[in-house]
Every structure is written in C-alpha cells, then in structure tokens.
C-alpha cells in the first residue's frame, strides 16, 4: 500500500464545482487515492472522511471568497480529532478580492495550513508539492 490518500472538497457554502472535478481527475491520474467530498463541505465532513480513510492530507478548495471565514479553526478541530500534523493545503480564490498573496499566505499559515495556493494554480504544481511533502518518489 504505497498509495497516499487525499481528502478533497470545496469548503463552506461554496458551490464552485468545476475545479474540484478536475482536481479529482488529476490527483487520481497522478497515483493518489482520492476521497472527493465535492462542494459545500463542512469542517466536520473533512475530518470524518480523513479519519475514516486514514488520509495523509486534506486539500481544501475555496473559490467564492469566504475562505477565510470558513477555514477558521480547522487545524484545531483536526488536532482535537486526533489528526495530529495531518498535511493541510488550501487553494483557489481563497479571500475576497485581489489581495497581496504573501499577506494572505501569512494569515492562512497562522491558521495552521501547511501550504497556501493562489488563484488558478495548475494541478501539476499542486501534485509536485504533494509528492514532495508526502515523500512520494
């Protein structure tokens, strides 16, 4: 069982459904097990799915601008649920409006995310980082 497992989904009240379908497709092609929760995923749903699937990472997508409100407390809830040090990614259009990305990254890192990706990050980039962080050759 070499394959690493990812839980993916679009957080909060966000219904942007196109990107996550493509990520699902791309991550599988790249050799990951993927649990795709689709759109409108609550923090609890990510955590439950991650526990159940013994996931190595949670990949949070947020497009609609409420990402900052929706992500508050996710790391803490992971910790409480025993998902200590699980890899947490967030990406998409994660804040409202055009903002300085390094500032945004800082804020999300402070919330406990391991990596933070800006608008339109191509699947290949994400996959590269996942492989690196999860020690996949």
């Amino acid at each position: 069982m070499d394959k690493k497992t990812l839980v993916i989904g679009v957080i909060g009240a966000d219904v942007h459904a196109v990107g996550i379908q493509i990520l699902n497709f791309a991550f599988q092609e790249a050799g990951f097990n993927v649990v795709n929760l689709g759109v409108m995923v609550t923090q609890e749903e990510y955590i439950e799915a991650a526990i159940e699937a013994k996931a190595d990472a949670i990949v949070v997508s947020s497009l609609y601008g409420h990402g900052e409100l929706d992500c508050q407390g996710l790391r803490e809830k992971c910790d409480e649920a025993g998902l200590k040090d699980i890899l947490l990614y967030v990406g998409g259009n994660i804040v409202v409006g055009k903002q300085d990305l390094t500032e945004v990254e800082k804020r999300f890192r402070a919330m406990g995310f391991d990596r933070v990706f800006g608008p339109g990050t191509p699947p290949e980039t994400t996959i590269e980082y996942l492989k690196k962080d999860l020690g996949v050759a």
Partner: protein
C-alpha cells in the same frame, strides 16, 4: 403542497407568506400594501421594466455590472461609482453566499467582521439582514434601476424584503438558482419556492406595479450548450408567466463562437416567444441578456479586457437587450470598484461603436439558429411529455431522466451524463449526449462537428477535449488544442 404549473390562489400565497416572513426578524418590516404604494412612488426612469422596454424599442444594448459588498454605505458608494464612473445603465445588488443559503446568522457575523476588519468579508450584500429599510436606502441613493442578483435556491424572504425595498427586478428561477448553486436541494422544492417569488411578482403586477424577472441563463457558465440553457430559460419564463409575471428577461452565457452566440440569442427570443404563446401567455414582454463569458478567465488584466470586449461585441451584434459585464479582476477575486467600472467602460465603448451594426442574417446564421431551435424543442417537448403536459412536473422528471442535464453542476439531482466540448470553430456541441432526447439527425450533426475537430486536433473525440476546453479561454485560446 404538490408542484404543478398553476397559479397559486391568493389564499395559498398569503398563508405561505406568514411562514416566510417569520424566518428572520426583518421579515416583519414588510407590509405589502405599503410596499405597493412605495413601489408606485418610484419614477419611471428608475424602473427596470421601463428601461428595458425602451431599449427593446430603440434596439440598443444596455450594460449592467455585478456588484455587492457587506455594508450599506459602502454598497451605495460602489453603485454610485459604477453609474458615474462606469456608465452602467442598470445596477445590480449581488447578494452574499450566506444569504443565498438562508444562513442569516452567518451573514450577521460577516457584517460584524466586515466592520471590524474595515473591508468586506462577505462576497455580496446581505439583503435580508439589512431589511426593507436598508434596501430602500440603497435604491433611493442611485439614479438607475436596481436588480437583485444572487443564486438563492429559497429566495422567498429575500424577494419580499428587496421588492418592498424598491428593487424593480429580481433574478433567478427554480432551476437556474438550484442546479448550479446547490448540492442537496430537490427541484421540486426550488420550483415551489420560485413559484412563490413569481406569485409575489404577479401580486405586485396585478396591482399595477411591474417588476422584471430574469431566469439565470448561464447556469454553470462552463460549456453549457445553448439549447440546454435556452430550454431552461424557456421553462422558467413559462412558469413565471403562469404566476402572473409580465416582464421577463431571458439570458444566455456567451460561449465564444460568433455565429453560435448570435444564433443562440435569436433562438432564445424565438423559442421563448413561441412557448409563451403556445401556453396562452400573450401579454408578456420578453427581453434578452447576454452574459460575457462565464467560465474561467485569464488572470492577466489586458487579456481579461480581450474576453470582456469580445463578449460586448457579440452582445451588440446579436442586439441583446442588455449585457452583463465581467471585470479585469474576474480570475482573481471580487473586483474593486475601479476594476468593475473599467470593465463597464470597455464594454460601453464596444457596444456604442457597434450600436448601428448587426450580424447579417445569412445562411450560416440561419442554419445555426435552426439547429439550436431543433435541439431546444426536442428537450422541451420530451419534458412536457414526461409531465403529461405539465411543465413543472415534467421538469422534475426531465432532470431525473437526464433529459435536462447541466454540465459540471454541483446538484445531486442533475444526472451529469451529458458532456460538452467545442467543435473545430469553437462552438459548444454535445460530446456525450447522455439521455438528452435528440433524434439521429441532431446526434449526427453534433458528432460530425466534433469529428472535424478531432481530425484537426489529430486525436480521438474524448473527454480530454472537454478538460482542455475548460482551461482554454484562461490560457488565451477558445478551442483547447492538444499541446504540440
């Protein structure tokens, strides 16, 4: 309550109202008689219907942005900026995503956070929370008619509050504000909640106050074939008319091929008129709206202007009654007011330069209108059949059966078997037909067009084309060609 396409009795409507108004404290602010009187005090030039009707007569295309922020003062500032600096003819008020899901306490939290952080933490204007008074502050502070734009499956309270609040147009519909905007909500439910909105609109109409209603044309905004979105628009227009709506704007999201896009607007107008007439709704005024490309945008602002301007040209050449304008920030985030106004000014320039021109009605255009008409009719006729003649019942069953099938929709009540892709000239065709009820001639037509592309691409017709097409415009192309 069971769903059928029949005008609600006044009693049924008024009974339901009590429930609706009780779902959030601001509901109590709405007094229908007072609201009707208030609406009657709004001058003609600030009414959506009047301005649209004039545009139809003058054969001009009006421009309208999307815009909304959390706080009333900031929102007014934004709208004023868009009319003064952007030259918007029609104004929007885009509602935030929490309100769209009736999560009014989350919206309240967003308002507070926005005050605290000094910037809008909501992606739109929380209309329910701001109530009738807040809405009136907005509509009274600007010179142009204002419309509510959102994506709310259950928009009953929002409609009550904002129409009482002086908005003269309300976007959405039981299909178009469900399937692209929700995951777990049945079509039965949203068609009922939207019958309520239409019945409310009809109630005002019966009392001499005309409110414009606009089904959301583009659906998921991503490679939706014109006949599929047009079929949905026609259904929502018919359903609205039954509840007493008399002024409808049917919409279409630009796909990118000039001939197909112009044809789609013509077909949309023809089909809407035809089906309204067929069911005996003879006094509905129909206008059209083209949405500039609704899928993924290029990040670069100059390239975004390219997409915006091409959409403007198509709207003008198709003589759409209005065009919904994107901004150079589209790919990044909710635009600043400056970026929003810039999108408007670029659009206005193109629209004005093309005001006196239109696409000649030649053979190719006629052929494209014909195929869209035939596809749309196939979908609608099967839908009616499934409903034993009732368009509402038929719609629910058509979604179950995949007869109506919207690509990339988040809703679990959408089959998702149909898959689109662009043909060799960039027109969006049916790649997998799924259960969409097309006869052989239509299937062959779509396949032939995709085969032409496959040949040019030097690959088989397959889903990878769809994936490539999704990225194409943001990568500066229309057709997603394989990398050489």
């Amino acid at each position: 309550m069971t769903l059928v396409n029949k005008k609600w009795s006044e009693q049924q409507f008024l009974d339901t109202r009590q429930e609706v108004l009780g779902t959030w404290p601001t509901g109590a602010e709405v007094d229908l008689d007072e609201a009707i009187a208030y609406q009657k005090s709004i001058p003609e030039d600030k009414r959506f219907c009047a301005k649209l009707n004039k545009a139809i007569d003058d054969k001009v295309t009006l421009i309208q942005p999307r815009a909304g922020v959390a706080l009333i003062d900031k929102h007014i500032e934004l709208l004023r900026f868009l009319e003064d600096e952007g030259g918007a003819d029609l104004l929007p008020t885009t509602i935030d995503s929490y309100t769209r899901l009736n999560r009014y306490s989350d919206a309240e939290h967003g308002i507070k956070e926005s005050i605290a952080q000094g910037t809008s933490m909501l992606n739109g204007f929380p209309g329910v929370n701001h109530g009738v008074e807040g809405s009136r502050k907005v509509t009274e502070s600007v010179k142009s008619p204002v419309q509510v734009r959102h994506g709310t499956p259950d928009a009953r309270l929002l409609a009550e509050i904002t129409i009482a609040g002086g908005f003269t147009s309300f976007e959405g519909g039981g299909i178009s504000y469900n399937v692209p905007y929700a995951k777990n909500i049945t079509l039965e439910h949203t068609m009922l909640t939207w019958q309520y909105v239409d019945r409310l609109t009809g109630y005002y109409e019966d009392r001499g106050v005309s409110i414009n209603r606009e089904p959301f044309g583009p659906l998921t905004g991503t490679l939706v074939p014109p006949s599929m979105s047009n079929a949905v628009a026609v259904i929502e227009a018919v359903v609205a008319a039954e509840q007493g709506v008399r002024n409808v704007t049917v919409g279409y999201g630009q796909c990118g091929n000039l001939i197909q896009d112009v044809a789609a607007i013509h077909s949309l107008r023809q089909m809407t008129d035809a089906y309204l007439k067929r069911f005996g709704y003879n006094n509905v005024i129909v206008s059209t709206v083209l949405h500039q490309w609704m899928g993924g945008f290029p990040q670069d602002e100059a390239k975004a202007f390219g997409v915006i301007c091409w959409g403007s040209a198509v709207a003008a050449l198709a003589k759409a009654t209005k065009v919904i304008v994107k901004t150079p920030h589209e790919a990044i985030g909710v635009p600043t007011k400056e970026a929003n106004a810039a999108g408007l000014r670029a659009t206005k320039q193109v629209i004005s330069m093309l005001a006196d021109q239109e696409m000649p009605m030649d053979e190719m255009l006629l052929a494209e209108i014909d195929i869209i008409n035939r596809e749309t009719r196939a979908i609608l006729e099967r839908t009616l059949e499934l409903g034993d003649g009732d368009i509402c019942v038929g719609t629910v069953r058509a979604f179950e059966a995949g007869v109506i099938d919207v690509p990339f929709a988040p809703s679990r009540y959408n089959a998702g078997n149909m898959m689109p892709a662009r043909d060799n000239k960039g027109a969006v065709r049916y790649l997998h037909i799924g259960n969409v009820p097309f006869d052989k001639s239509i299937v062959d037509f779509n396949q032939k067009r995709l085969q032409e592309r496959a040949k040019a691409d030097n690959r088989e017709v397959a889903f990878q084309m769809t994936v490539d097409d999704i990225y194409a415009i943001s990568n500066g192309q229309l057709v997603g060609r394989p990398n050489k």
